[in-house]
Symmetry: C2
Subunit: 475 residues, 2 copies
């Protein structure tokens, strides 16, 4: 796929009539809007933006694109951090935002049937009003769409107890590259009927088909939560604590790690200094437990306490009311934006077995010193998923462009050596694709490319993503 000319005249001929005029855009503003997502410093113009509202419209658009070998890049709210929604080869930007109906909340079977443009938090609030629970809560839940979550296999703080997006999907309606419409599974909790195409589609980053409907599993709502805010003088003690909490027979509903610098940045960014951060404390854990009744919370906290003492934790702050808890989550949730405000940066979404976090952190800091950059580390320590923000600060453009990719390569090599991999929940997209060789062997990649070819023979779906660039490919 090398077509990037965005021949608008041609595109008008090909796509006009497939959608009403007001949902097919060729104007500069719409194209510019769809040239970016939340990945820093990247922009690629599409040639046309389409906003379908039905599976048949998606099917017709894909058939036309496939017949004419025009790249198709699906997008939701474009909150992604790996460039998955960027139309790097131009072509059709397929906005799924207007397919945003919650089709059914099936209370009898604890299932929700949704279109991909539904905002994650909208689904959460809707099902909570019926005493049900959709657990996946990426940091951007207030703006991101379920379609994007499905494409990238998104996680979030609760993944440590409740799993990531893939663990909540029973069935998908998918439009294939040639416009054919399939269902990948059934609306059942178990399924051993043919290959697990549902699981294959989730996390495939828009490269295998376009998801137009999903059946999601729901749980009874755990109404009660308790939150602990725990300071540590040593970040390595904080990491050690993470593993030991599970040993104590506790399944926390969140277990987050933050470096002090990450919190300081969040305080400066928000102007909220309510929480005192003792300069002696290197790191903090946020430990949340939940349950169907209030009485189930204290026994869990009581099992956590001896682990904290054993690992030299400082004074623990308990938050039992929703508003106290919100205050503690507030800074954690602002770290991403805060880093963005401080410096040009690159964010890596490393993931290792959680017991290896101390060693990973040591290596990251060592590599940072070697190459001369600061890192801000935080993330979902309970599942070993550490977001590593590499700050440009005063580094020259040249060093930033030439040496940092080498440093990232070193970090990823360490990650893989520890049994981990490149991305826990952000996806590979555009920005990590040329590191894939570190984690995925040649023969595995051949299989992945083969599957891609079966499902998208013309390579129209989100070209330029996930797979390492081949020598003959243009960027």
């Amino acid at each position: 796929m090398t077509m990037t000319d965005n021949n608008t005249k041609n595109y008008r001929i090909i796509f006009e009539g497939l959608l009403p005029e007001e949902r097919l855009h060729f104007d500069e503003e719409a194209l510019t809007n769809h040239s970016v997502d939340e990945t820093e410093g990247l922009s690629f113009m599409p040639g046309v933006v389409a906003e379908p509202i039905s599976v048949d419209e998606v099917s017709n658009l894909l058939k036309a694109a496939n017949d004419n070998k025009i790249p198709v890049t699906a997008a939701g709210a474009r909150t992604g951090l790996s460039g998955g929604a960027l139309p790097v080869h131009g072509g059709l930007a397929l906005s799924m935002r207007k397919m945003n109906k919650i089709i059914e909340i099936d209370e009898k079977n604890h299932q929700a049937i949704i279109e991909p443009g539904v905002i994650t938090e909208v689904l959460q609030n809707t099902v909570e009003s019926k005493n049900l629970f959709y657990a996946v809560d990426p940091a951007s839940k207030g703006s991101c769409t379920l379609g994007g979550n499905l494409a990238e296999n998104s996680g979030g703080p609760r993944a440590v107890k409740y799993g990531v997006t893939k663990d909540w999907v029973l069935n998908l309606q998918v439009v294939l590259a040639d416009g054919q419409i399939i269902e990948t599974g059934a609306n059942t909790l178990k399924n051993s009927t043919g290959y697990n195409l549902t699981g294959l589609m989730v996390g495939s980053e828009g490269t295998l088909g376009i998801i137009t409907r999903a059946t999601l599993k729901l749980l009874p709502l755990p109404r009660f939560r308790a939150l602990m805010w725990v300071p540590f003088k040593s970040i390595s003690d904080a990491c050690k604590t993470v593993s030991e909490i599970f040993h104590a027979g506790v399944m926390p509903s969140a277990l987050e790690l933050m470096e002090r610098d990450a919190l300081l940045m969040a305080q400066d960014f928000t102007g909220n200094y309510e929480l005192q951060l003792d300069p002696q404390n290197e790191a903090y854990l946020l430990i949340e437990v939940d349950g169907f009744e209030e009485a189930s919370l204290m026994p869990q906290c009581e099992r956590v306490m001896p682990v904290l003492e054993r690992n030299n934790a400082g004074e623990v702050l308990f938050a039992q009311t929703a508003s106290e808890q919100e205050k503690l989550w507030y800074l954690r949730r602002r770290i991403g934006e805060a880093v963005k405000a401080v410096s040009i940066y690159k964010e890596e979404d490393t993931v290792v077995p959680r017991g290896c976090l101390p060693e990973l952190l040591d290596s990251i800091k060592r590599i940072g010193e070697e190459y001369g950059f600061r890192t801000i580390c935080y993330g979902h320590a309970g599942d070993g998923n550490l977001h590593v923000n590499i700050l440009k600060d005063e580094m020259s453009e040249e060093v930033w462009a030439e040496q940092i990719p080498e440093a990232i390569r070193e970090i990823f090599k360490k990650v893989v050596q520890l049994g981990g991999t490149l991305s826990g929940e952000h996806g590979i997209g555009y920005v990590q694709k040329n590191y894939m060789d570190i984690a995925i062997s040649h023969h595995n990649l051949l299989i992945q490319r083969g599957i891609k070819k079966v499902m998208d023979p013309n390579g129209i779906l989100n070209p330029g993503k996930m797979f390492p660039q081949l020598p003959h490919e243009t960027m």
Copy 2:
């Protein structure tokens, strides 16, 4: 793939030297042993049986088979009920039983690394001794292997709370058809790095590659369990209860439904009549709850009780000690064997959204009356997974052979109409493959066949399984 001649002389030339003599069998006894599994009434002779003990041996065997286009059917303990391990085209029966090492229990990260020949219960007991938990518990757990569980995506009673095999697999080592060895993922709880080949392999029934090692997720062990044995005059009330229990904010660790006839058969089979079965009761539920502390059990039972009352349950039997619980599970676990002892039968592994169980049961009984057969129904009602045993009783061979497939087709059509599918946990294997068209559309099947072709271009891996027979194919 039509090769079925089992040219032993040829096979000797091809395979000898790849394994020591004592693990490569051409004798009648070994071949006959590997001609059957637990699927009733089927037998297919392989031409050679190999028992590798290392990934390199598996790789060498596959390379040789692939170069010579010889069918390869992997087998574990051959406890499967869909004929997945039957060498229906002859060739190489690849016994994975001797690859039975628990390579590592990683207590720090709550992971187990195992070879496929490990008996499921052996892993469970091993990790429980370290206060850890591997939750998947198929009825045959005492004899089945983890490799078989992975191939068929096995479930069991606890799946309702803890999920099926696929939910416990982090990473696989797989030998591809041409002998290449890949890892499908990483040893991490989250992974958004390329396509989910781990999920694709689980449940692929030995048709895409041979699993030689798996990294499985473990949980802290929930030490405490309470069990309720609940009679119902009306099976439809029992089914309704199932849905409502979840609404009450309870996540039972098992929720099993048994028809009275199933229990009567199990009593006759075991000679154990300790449990009184009132002839007025049509059905029984087994409801189990678990927790990390004893105090967490009663509140769960208390939330279940009003649901039982509302749905006209009879007197509830509580079992809190392990030995009392074992007595109640005993009959449930013997039903499968009991049915086998009574009559020739066919077992279907239907699964629907759990709220649709009453309608499914009604339809099954109606179809049974129409075609003149008895059914014994029981299974994992909590996840809508109903095992339907169709008894031959006194039916003539002719009617059995000609009319029953039509009746099964009717049952499956109803299942799909209810949002369900053909198999919840047994797999499609050999016996259900010609019903696949009911649940899986033509275009979906084309994708599945395409993936099969990418991973196994010569079609040597478990040929004759899962995919509906094409007009030009021999059986």
